[in-house]
Symmetry: C2
Subunit: 122 residues, 2 copies
């Protein structure tokens, strides 16, 4: 590098940003969207309510869940049908672990972005 | 983490992937697209040809360049009008430096993604 990068940029707040996701065989299947969906299913016990809260169609939510369930050694979302309350959905312990992993991954990514953004100021 | 993350995922090739860009005041202005555009302008001396090679409209290319030029302490792309060859565009030394910086940034990001993908296998 001939000059510090900040000298070739104008004044102002510059930063590095990005997005991150998990892939299986090159296909994206997990990121902030599915995480939020899982968390809301855990909160509400309802895929319909979780989808609604995210402004997501019921079909899209089911597509995400079906895809996600296929990625697990065991399904991440369980749905009971019938019964007094007309069913209800829960997430597995493994789903909670996947959410925790994702939180840690995001934190490491945040640190990477912070480090790179600081580098721009040097 | 209770269990290694790989034990809750099915068998197969899992990896972490992502994208990265530069922002000014929260607005994205630089990433792989603008880098390729700059490189192709350097090769061809022509914004029109550079845009065409990328399947990008001439207008979109100009929008990217005008936006990019505003981010520099000096403009990154110079366009001469008229003359024997009817003008031609060149990129500045600072543009070359920005490209070099971006290459290094991508390499650091590649390492981050590799590290995270390896972590999934542990």
């Amino acid at each position: 590098m001939e000059k510090p990068i900040r000298t070739i940029l104008k004044e102002g707040r510059f930063n590095v940003n990005g997005s991150l996701w998990l892939e299986h065989e090159g296909q994206r299947f997990f990121g902030p969207g599915p995480v939020e969906l899982l968390e809301r299913i855990a909160e509400t016990g309802s895929i319909k309510q979780a989808a609604k809260a995210m402004g997501m169609s019921y079909k899209k939510a089911w597509d995400l869940i079906n895809n996600l369930n296929k990625m697990g050694a065991q399904p991440f979302v369980h749905t009971a049908t019938g019964g007094e309350k007309g069913g209800g959905s829960t997430i597995s312990d493994e789903a909670r672990q996947l959410i925790a992993y994702h939180r840690q991954l995001r934190e490491r990514f945040r640190q990477f972005l912070e480090q790179e953004s600081n580098r721009l100021k040097q």
